[in-house]
Structures are given as C-alpha cells and as structure tokens.
C-alpha cells in the first residue's frame, strides 16, 4: 500500500480483481502539500455556512433607568426608576450589572462570511486531493485503512448504479472500508454543551468520502444512510469534506470516471485546467526533495567548509594568579624562578639567626654578666632601704629625746 504514480482500478464485486492496471495518477496528486494554504482557506470557508444571529437589541435596556449622580453614597451606574419593588434602585443597563445588557451586543450585521481568493481556494482543494493519496496523512487523520488494498482507492463505475444500502455496505466491507465506518459508529457520542438541545445532539466522526462522476448516479441514496460516509460529485469537491477541520488526508473512494475527470478539473503541469479557467497547479519549491543526496553530492561537498570548532577565548573560571600557582605560571613563566629566589632568600636569612643561637659561650657570659649586675642592684637597693630606715629611727628617736627633754 503506497502512493504510486500508477494506479490500478479495482472491480466493484471483487477487491482482488483489477479491471484496469497502471492508470497514471492525475497531476493533482503530485501537488505540493501546503497545510498552511488549506488551514487558511478552511478557517475562512468554514465561516460561510453560518446563519446570522443576534441578541435582542432591547435586551437589558427596557428600563427608564437613570444614574442618581454623586452625593448619595452609591455607585454612579444608572439605576431603575420607580418604587414599590425590589427592582427599583437596582443597577441597570451596564454589562456588569445583573439583568443588564451585554457589552457590545451581537448584531445581525456582523460579518458572518468570508471571501477567499479563488486561486487560494483552488490550491487548497488541489492540495487536499493530493493528501488523500498519501497513506501516512490519511492514517494520521484517523481513518482505519489497514485493510484497504490501495490508496488512492479507485473503483470501477459500477458502484454508481448501486441503489440498495446493502450493496453499498457489502462494497465497503469488500474493500476494507467498513472498519472506518465501524469507527464512526462506535465513536458516536452525545455532544457536550447546550447545542445538544439545539438540534446537534450527536458528534459523529467522518468516514470515507465516495466521489462519483455521472450526475444520474443512484449511489447517493445507497450510501446516504451509512454512518460517516459522504458522497460527492467530482465537479463539486468541497474542501470542507476533503480536509475536515482543516486536517488533510480524508479517506476517499474514487470511481474510475471521477478519477479520470481530475486531470480536466485541475489540469496538469503541462496544461492549464480546462474547467477551472486559467488555473495552473501549484509548483513545488524543491524539485528534488532528496536532501541527503543533494548534501552529499560532489558539487556541494566541494564547496563545503570543515565544521567549525567552538572557539574558546578564555578558561571558564578565572583563577586568581596571586594565589593559584598554576594560573600564575600559565601567565608568567618567570614567576616560578621568582618564587624559588624568594624561598632561597628566606632560607639564607634564617641561617644567620641560627648562628647566634649556637653561640652558647656568649649566652653564658652574657647571663653571668646579667646576674652580676642584678646582684649588685639588689645589694644597692637593700643598702638604700636600710639607710632610710636608720634615718627614720634616728629622726624619731631624736624627736622623742627632744620631747622627753622638754
């Protein structure tokens, strides 16, 4: 199962039988995938089904409310006139007020619809068709296509004449599309929110899209009641069906004539479209998407420069050279010698002091001299003290003698 430039058309009755082999893929399927265009066009086109609505223009304004002004110890919001009811004197009109009108009430003349340039719409449709032929995109969108024999799935025109729903169902079963239908059935949920009371009770997923060509085809009625399945004529392909929600990759079942009509509809890269006046398919930016091959080609590799290494200007952490010897030596190789010289100088100085310590004789002599001096000092002090005492005794005794004499 791959998206191929050649496509087989399958028989409606037997999924193993191929009625036409190797039909070329229409050029639309080679269009570059432009999710940006699709997303833009889809957001705008999706607004075109909207119906105008509005709030009642009088809602919240059916009072003769007036502001009481300042000086009455209340907010200046308009207040309901009159008396005799709770409502009188209550705030009115403002969007913040209870029972007030909303801010910026919705008007019917809101711009509900959006116009999109025709070219953009056509490009979006072309991209969406191209995406239906890319398996990963269809799988990513969530379709159960593991049993489908080929993407894009092209079936002979016989299915256009189906009238009974049983025929339609059996056809889907035969081609592995029933799994997708089962998904739709099993995931039908009651919608959250108020819209369930407004006619949109269920949220239903999208199943396969059947595209036919002949206007008188009866398959519309046959497939109509199968949940999830949509039927559309190839001349009226709708982006809202090809890329529901703006998401590319709807699972599409083409009839043979519808498939063949695509070239006339969208044109090819050689010829502009016949049916869309002057429309030319979008051209891809890259004609050769094999980037690895381009990069590894001789022409590119010859010009390529070698990979840049990160240039580190400086070490990540600055170390203080005044404290960190490694940092210092990195900056100033002479520092090592200076340090060595400094330590040598210190050693030389200490050698001198050691010499003094070892001179014991000198120490002894100096101590002896000191003892001598201190002894002499002691004797002198003692003598002086004794002399003072003698004088005192003499003086007091003299006084006593004098007193005694008198």
């Amino acid at each position: 199962m791959t998206s191929v430039p050649l496509v087989s058309v399958f028989s409606a009755d037997d999924s193993t039988k191929v009625t036409a082999k190797h039909i070329p893929l229409p050029a639309v399927f080679q269009t570059p995938i432009r999710p940006d265009i699709v997303s833009f066009v889809h957001t705008n086109i999706a607004k075109n089904r909207r119906q105008a609505h509005a709030v009642n223009p009088q809602a919240g304004m059916q009072h003769s409310a007036e502001s009481w002004g300042t000086g009455r110890a209340v907010a200046r919001i308009p207040r309901v006139s009159g008396s005799g009811t709770h409502r009188s004197g209550q705030a009115a009109f403002g969007n913040q007020c209870r029972k007030g009108r909303m801010s910026l009430p919705i008007k019917v003349w809101r711009r509900w619809h959006r116009r999109v340039n025709i070219k953009q719409k056509r490009h979006a449709a072309a991209t969406a068709v191209a995406a239906t032929g890319i398996v990963p995109l269809v799988l990513a969108r969530g379709h159960r296509i593991s049993q489908v024999p080929q993407i894009p799935l092209v079936v002979e025109d016989k299915i256009e004449s189906y009238e009974k729903t049983t025929d339609a169902l059996n056809f889907l079963k035969r081609f592995g599309a029933f799994e997708d239908v089962q998904k739709v059935v099993s995931t039908k949920v009651v919608r959250a929110g108020i819209s369930k009371q407004r006619g949109k009770k269920y949220r239903v997923r999208k199943g396969p899209l059947v595209v036919y060509f002949n206007e008188n085809a009866k398959l519309l009625k046959a497939f109509r009641n199968v949940p999830g399945v949509e039927v559309v004529n190839v001349t009226r392909l709708n982006l809202l069906q090809l890329a529901p929600g703006g998401q590319l990759g709807r699972f599409v079942i083409w009839t043979q004539s519808a498939f063949a009509h695509l070239d006339k509809l969208f044109g090819t890269y050689r010829y502009a479209s016949v049916l869309k006046d002057g429309y030319q398919l979008l051209r891809p930016l890259l004609t050769n998407p094999d980037l690895a091959r381009i990069i590894n080609s001789n022409q590119v590799q010859e010009k390529v420069q070698p990979a840049k290494t990160t240039k580190v200007l400086h070490e990540v952490q600055k170390k203080n050279p005044l404290k960190n010897t490694k940092a210092m030596d990195r900056l100033n190789p002479y520092a090592k010698k200076q340090r060595a010289a400094a330590t040598a100088a210190i050693k030389a100085n200490t050698k001198g002091t050691k010499k003094i310590k070892k001179n014991k004789a000198l120490k002894k002599a100096s101590r002896a001299a000191f003892n001598k001096v201190s002894a002499a000092l002691n004797d002198a002090t003692k003598a002086a003290v004794q002399e003072e005492q003698d004088i005192k005794v003499k003086y007091f005794s003299v006084q006593k003698g004098a007193a005694q004499a008198e």
Binding site: H314, E315, K318, R330, L331, N332, P333, Y334, K337
Partner: protein, 248 residues
C-alpha cells in the same frame, strides 16, 4: 544433521559517499594534528620570550629602586634633597554611587571608565586628565599607585574589553591577540607598559576593563569630606596604595 549453507562470495562494497567522507575526514584530522604540533612549538618559543621579558622587567624595576635609594642617600650625604619625578600615572577610584549626579560629572566619570561604585582605573597624567579629575574630585579618590598594586590589580582583577565583552585575563593569548601588534605579548608586558606609562599606554589602558573592586576592609573615614579634611575624596597621593590594598 543440517546441511551447511554454501558461502556466497560477495565482495563487501562500501558506499561511495562513505569512502569520500572518510578520506576527507582523515585529511582534516592530519591537518589538525599538524597545526597542533606547530602551535605547541610556537608556544614554547613564546613562553621563553615571556620569561625573558619578565626577567628583563624585574631587573629594570630593581635597578630603578636602587637608583632611587642611591639618589636619596647621595642627596642626604651632600646635605641637599632629592625630589623624585612626579608620577606619570594616577589610579582613580570612584567612591560615590550613581544617584543625584550632576550631568557633567556623570559624563566625566563615564569618560574615565568609572561607571560604578568602587571602580578603579588608570589614568595618564596630563593637563587634560588633571582637569577631568578636578571636575569629579568629590566623587573619587586618587593617587599614585605603586608597582606592586598595579601588578596585583592586573593579575587579580584584570579583565579585557574585547568586542565589548569583559573577558578575564586567564592566558596570554588574549593579550597577544589584541595587543600583539603594539608589542605587548604577555601580562608582564602589559604591567610594564602601565607602570612605565610607555608609548602604547593608550592601547594598553583601553584594552583593560575598569577594575571592579570590593569596598575597603576597615571602611572609609568620611566620604563626605576631602582627604585633606580627614575624609576620603580627592588626591591622597601614595596613600592610595593602602586603600586599594584593602579593596583588592
């Protein structure tokens, strides 16, 4: 007993682009290795040159000190005075913050690279710079830095201005790349240029980012007063060294 499967003779074919890439990679690797050996050899000669320069400067400084001492002794012995030459270099330290500044003062401080409190910068002494410093005197203190202080500032707080970025001076390549064409190849060359205010002092000083010092340990005396008035701002001549040692 299972039959042994016949060995198929398949020549191991290596994809062409892998062959080409491995050839290119070996060439690149060899070029890198060659450049590395060249660089290491060049580094060796450069380091020898740095050492030689540093030693020459060391001798120069010692000689300058000795000649100063000799001059002083000689003058004393003759009964006269020796007045050493006025310093050619000033170290300016910003001591006031950013609030409520006169716009002219603000601009002058910016011109002196003193954009932040406790920023310090070297300034050459000439008429122009003296006038500038006079304008900002109450907001800065300045004086004549000693060689040791200059050296310590550049080693510990030295950052370079490269492409408007503040790059730490962690190796001499930084200095070589920016100032090599002016003859300054290592950090000792840079210190020497600042100390002696050489011919390329302008380039060397512009290369240096302003020194971002810490507040002085032990504090200021009174920033509201001038140094002469038992305060802090203004010229404090040699005593700037004591202050900056507390701020480094």
């Amino acid at each position: 007993m299972s039959q042994k499967k016949p060995q198929m003779q398949v020549e191991q074919k290596v994809p062409e682009n892998i062959v080409k890439k491995s050839a290119r990679d070996t060439k690149l690797r060899e070029a890198v290795a060659k450049r590395r050996t060249e660089r290491l050899a060049a580094n060796k000669t450069r380091r020898a040159q740095w050492e030689k320069n540093a030693q020459a400067y060391d001798n120069e400084y010692k000689a300058a000190d000795k000649s100063l001492v000799d001059s002083l002794r000689k003058a004393k012995s003759e009964g006269g005075f020796y007045v050493p030459a006025e310093s050619k270099l000033i170290l300016v330290v910003r001591i006031r913050g950013i609030n409520t500044l006169n716009p002219q003062v603000r601009q002058t401080l910016r011109l002196l690279k003193l954009r932040q409190l406790h920023n310090a910068a070297f300034v050459r002494v000439n008429k122009a710079t003296i006038e500038m410093i006079r304008k900002v005197e109450p907001y800065v203190t300045y004086g004549y830095p000693s060689r040791a202080v200059i050296k310590n500032l550049i080693y510990k707080r030295g950052y370079a201005k490269i492409n408007g970025q503040r790059i730490p001076l962690t190796n001499n390549n930084i200095i070589e790349q920016q100032l090599g064409k002016v003859g300054i190849h290592s950090i000792e060359d840079l210190v020497h240029e600042i100390v002696t205010v050489g011919a390329h002092f302008k380039e060397a000083n512009r290369f240096l980012w302003a020194f971002k010092l810490r507040g002085p340990r032990g504090g200021f005396i009174a920033k509201r007063r001038s140094f002469i008035n038992q305060g802090d701002w203004g010229n404090r001549e040699d005593l700037i060294n004591d202050l900056v040692k507390r701020m480094i």
